[in-house]
């Protein structure tokens, strides 16, 4: 059977992608950011996931205002890196897992999560920056990836509770797939940032660290936080953090924290990163 072994959370700041693509990772500004990802780069080589279910948001790239799905699952065999206005990032094409994606879709819809099914979609920095941070510069991504796009552009995004519950249903979906697969669930976006208006540049270290503490220790309580707390305290774009709750919901209650990292700034944003293993996986069960 397929098994969820671990979760990864990370910010997906576009400037991080630019720093990687232009070879700036050793520059003094960027070095402390990438230092926080040295652990995961080694860890992933041991873990060798077969599939990553990657939760991210589209930034007005694949979805303009003509159609805005709240939860969209990528069911195609492949997804091209998008041209976001300055040419596509020089990263590999993302290979999907249409059979597992179809299984997950069916299971989630039958569990009352009405997903939008997407068969043609370019993927933007929200998806490719986390892959670059973890796998580095590679010719091919070393595993299959199911993109899962969450609307956080137009308010309201789905609630933290809805995301957390979806994560739980996702675990049931993935772990009922008959093939033996090592699956990871990643949650991306955040942490505190505001990209617009006179309040742009807001960073709330206290909020961010409380969020990390609670995501680890009491996610069911954290899921109850309303949107207004995120947008007020973590910035208008900080509300992306609800996506991390999908990842956390897909994991067991008991987890081992393998890496926790927090840094300010990357461009306009606070960078947060977690590597969480299911305790049963860490114990070799």
């Amino acid at each position: 059977m397929a098994k969820i072994t671990a979760g990864v959370a990370t910010s997906h700041v576009p400037a991080i992608g630019v720093a990687i693509d232009l070879g700036k990772t050793e520059q003094p500004y960027w070095k402390p950011v990438f230092a926080g990802y040295e652990y995961v780069k080694e860890w992933i080589k041991e873990q060798k996931p077969d599939v990553i279910f990657l939760v991210y948001n589209d930034h007005a790239t694949a979805f303009d205002l003509s159609m805005i799905p709240t939860f969209a699952i990528g069911c195609a065999p492949e997804f091209k890196p998008a041209d976001e206005g300055w040419g596509a990032r020089p990263v590999p094409v993302v290979k999907g897992h249409p059979v597992l994606a179809a299984h997950i879709t069916q299971s989630l819809i039958q569990d009352n999560f009405d997903l939008t099914i997407v068969n043609e979609m370019d993927v933007d920095h929200g998806l490719t920056v986390p892959l670059s941070l973890v796998f580095g510069q590679v010719e091919e991504w070393p595993c299959l990836i199911i993109p899962f796009a969450v609307n956080v552009v137009i308010y309201p995004p789905p609630s933290g509770q809805r995301c957390y519950d979806l994560g739980k249903a996702l675990r049931k979906a993935i772990e009922s797939f008959p093939e033996d697969l090592n699956v990871q669930v990643w949650g991306t976006g955040g942490m505190s940032h505001q990209l617009q208006g006179p309040r742009a540049g807001l960073i709330n270290k206290e909020f961010d660290n409380e969020f990390l503490d609670r995501l680890i220790a009491e996610p069911a309580e954290l899921a109850k936080e309303p949107h207004i707390r995120y947008v007020r305290e973590a910035g208008s774009e900080g509300v992306e953090l609800v996506m991390w709750l999908i990842m956390r919901g897909a994991l067991e209650d008991d987890i081992e924290v393998k890496q926790r990292f927090y840094h300010v700034p990357a461009s306009n944003t606070a960078v947060g990163h977690l590597v969480l293993e299911n305790s049963s996986h860490s114990a070799g069960v």
Binding site: P14, A15, H59, A60, T61, D64, L65, S66, D83, E84, G85, W86, V153, I154, Y155, P156, S192, Q194, L195, Q196, G197, P198, R199, A200, G201, L202, I203, N204, K205, E206, F207, I228, V231, R232, E233, G235, S236, E237, V264, P265, S267, N268, A270
Partner: protein, 129 residues
């Protein structure tokens, strides 16, 4: 039933909700069109003529010509859509964000290096006045 908007007391922030999205539909779709290289070229060659192809209000067109991002957002622009405009201009997200705060890019970048804008006094309009 009226929609509850608890975010109206957040200072310096426009939440892109459905009212703003309706207001800014054509402005945002215009910005989206700049993801195609040939459209960027046409826009750069003759901005006004290109804007006139879109069902935008005159004020929306003026806000684009002025590159006043706060003005554009007050007319329904969303920053991820408007990003296509400043990318066409070759500006970074940080430069564009700085322009919305009234700071120079250098001052803004320095604020970020020093840990960003503090939440103290910036969470409620009543505190920031």
């Amino acid at each position: 039933m009226s929609t509850v908007k608890p975010y109206h007391d957040i200072p310096g922030t426009t939440i892109f909700d459905f009212d703003m999205a309706n207001k800014g539909y054509h402005l945002n779709q215009f910005a989206m069109s700049l993801m195609k290289a040939e459209n960027r070229e046409r826009f750069k060659a003759e901005e006004r003529a290109y804007l006139d192809e879109w069902a935008m209000t005159e004020e929306q067109k003026q806000s684009v010509l002025a590159r006043d991002y706060n003005w554009m957002m007050s007319l329904g622009g969303n920053v991820y859509f408007l990003a296509k405009i400043f990318s066409t201009d070759g500006l970074s997200f940080q430069a564009a964000a700085a322009s919305m705060t009234g700071m120079t890019q250098e001052e803004y970048a320095q604020m970020m290096l020093e840990g960003g804008r503090t939440p103290v006094g910036n969470l409620y309009k009543k505190e920031s006045q």
